[in-house]
Symmetry: C2
Subunit: 382 residues, 2 copies
């Protein structure tokens, strides 16, 4: 069910659209940069908030979510950081479906009642013809409120990115009951019950579409879809259980944004990150599915990736996050080498890490990465 | 320090060398098959042994290790299963270096004293000029004994494969103190202390070379090197911290086997499995490093991989292990599709999974996979 709130009212105008132009496939004079999981535990100011509030409490309180969303911008400034991403978690979509998700201190997410098999009550409810879908305004309105608040607080300095987990990744957490190194239960589902798997994936897709459209109505200026577990699937399984839903999300969201909000084409760029899906044909398929930008993990060579997808689609990534543990001159050199490989600026590119920030990381090393991107001279633009 | 035992005495002659011929780059009339982690918890007869004995107790008792090594052959027969692999664990190499490794029931391997930093005593001992290396006969002779016993027990029905973990993978467990989803501590080591990392990796390489040569002296007829964490490294980091040591192992082992045992060239084929290192140039680099065969995880398209490495190097793999949860007709169809993609038989190929068997798997589904390979008709060989 779609969000009913009046869209895009009274939001501050964007002053620096470098990120959006790169995501839309334009060359840029300087390379925009942000970091996956940039609002997170590596920031002392984030840990201060978390000391007083539970993880999902921060997600669900628009004022708190807004505060931590903007923390990286306050620290690094719009000169270095080209975007904020709304603070939330991919698993809020499962919570919206009535699934209990707890965040345990060391363990990460725990779902006490996993989707064990098609005999599970949760599956029967989902598959029933009477299934009513999710009222995203009621279940996830707190995210929309946080987005609106963050837009006000950012005050046009940089764009605000909304996001969602992708259907297979969400299904993986649900089936496994949390994170998993092998995803063997989730893959077992796909192979043992392919028809039922498609039911789950389609229901999740429907929610994700409403959720992403709702985020744009609330003020998100770009969207990213996270298929964090994409690389656990063999190419053929990915083509059957992941890619079609990613493509459907991209198409339906863009149609809805054009029809309901007059935001056609790449007005609100949609980025896809299918981590680990780097085999021949995968990046190309994501491009062809209509995404404006493909975000890459660190196991792809930048020049090879740029060669594969051509000059016109935006790429995002892909510094190995662990490089932020290196000395500053190494971070600078590797960042510049990466940008050279992507032909960043001359080709549409958004500098980012190949995966998220980790709690042990030093904010000053993150700043070093951002500064290295800022100092990078796009060939021909000196 | 090399093994001192007299080599290759009184061992039964091999009656079916299909696997070895494929690994040596020959076309074969039928496609040989085995499964990574084929001696493991999915077999009730294995669980029976483990009910009475600890994990490393089985590794260290040559009679027990021999028994579980041969269990898959006794169950499936030489008609279906083309090789045994010695039952052991990659972490015995760390134990040989004096590192405590425990196998915890649900958790997997635990190293109570991780290699936290170059200040650790273990690093200082390893880096000291007085470091004496490892006497593999004394520390790992139990593996050699198990290999000799298994050769007798197999009685020439199929070849016996020896193996070792690769240096970066071993270092990863050591630094992390066990398994890790992100390997962030291990990667931090590489980037923060590259020089010291090379010391660790070189010392491990020296042990691995002696260990693999010792396994061949004891009766191993092929070798596999497992870089199970290869794909956690960015391409450039892999080229610096993984590939050179893999290449060194291949070269030194082959030189030693030729010089000490008269086993030149591909007499004892050496297989490499660098899981997740599938970017452009990686498979090609492993081939060029001198390995006889490259084992592939499930995230590579078979036809694309064969195209990339050419027709002459052997490939091994790469069915998604989770397909063993599928219905039997799906297992058969996907196995045949995979073999078609690799042009198995017409090109040198060993059918295998893209990763190890899992405890929840049904031995009859494993049999179904092996039977599907056995039933596969190599084009032109009907």
């Amino acid at each position: 069910m779609t969000s009913r709130r009046p869209p895009l009212e009274g939001l501050p105008a964007l002053r620096d659209d470098t990120l959006l132009r790169a995501l839309r496939g334009e060359c840029t004079d300087r390379v925009p940069a942000w970091m996956m999981r940039q609002a997170g535990r590596y920031l002392p100011e984030f840990r201060d908030v978390r000391a007083a509030h539970g993880f999902f409490e921060v997600c669900r309180d628009p004022a708190l979510a807004c505060e931590v969303t903007v923390q990286p911008l306050e620290r690094f400034g719009a000169e270095l950081l080209s975007a904020c991403i709304i603070f939330s978690d991919i698993l809020v979509v499962l919570q919206a479906l009535g699934v209990e998700v707890r965040m345990e201190p060391k363990e990460g997410p725990v779902l006490p009642v996993p989707l064990a098999s098609p005999d599970a009550d949760a599956f029967r409810a989902l598959a029933a013809p009477a299934f009513k879908g999710v009222d995203v305004e009621r279940e996830l309105g707190y995210v929309f409120d946080a987005i609106g608040a963050a837009r006000q607080r950012i005050a046009g300095r940089v764009p605000l990115i909304g996001f969602s987990g992708a259907p297979f990744t969400l299904m993986g957490y649900w089936v496994e009951g949390g994170g998993s190194r092998t995803l063997s239960k989730a893959k077992r589902w796909l192979y043992e019950w392919p028809r039922e798997s498609h039911v789950v994936l389609q229901r999740l897709t429907d929610v994700v579409v409403d959720y992403l459209v709702g985020q744009v109505r609330a003020g998100a200026q770009a969207l990213q879809v996270f298929e964090s577990n994409g690389g656990d699937l063999a190419p053929r399984a990915w083509s059957e259980f992941s890619l079609p839903y990613l493509a459907q999300i991209c198409k339906r969201v863009k149609e809805r944004l054009a029809g309901e909000l007059g935001l056609a084409g790449a007005a609100v760029p949609v980025v896809v990150f299918s981590r680990g899906s780097n085999w021949e044909g995968a990046l190309e398929a994501l491009r062809d599915a209509g995404f404006d930008a493909v975000s890459l993990d660190w196991t792809v060579d930048p020049a090879a990736a740029r060669e594969r997808v051509g000059d016109r689609v935006a790429l995002q990534g892909n510094l190995c996050p662990a490089l932020l543990y290196a000395r500053e001159e190494v971070i600078r050199a590797e960042t510049h080498r990466m940008l050279d490989g992507f032909r960043a600026g001359a080709c549409p590119h958004v500098a980012n890490l190949g995966h998220g920030m980790e709690p042990e990381m030093d904010p000053d090393r993150a700043r070093c990465f951002l500064q290295a991107v800022r100092d990078y001279v796009v060939p021909g633009k000196r």
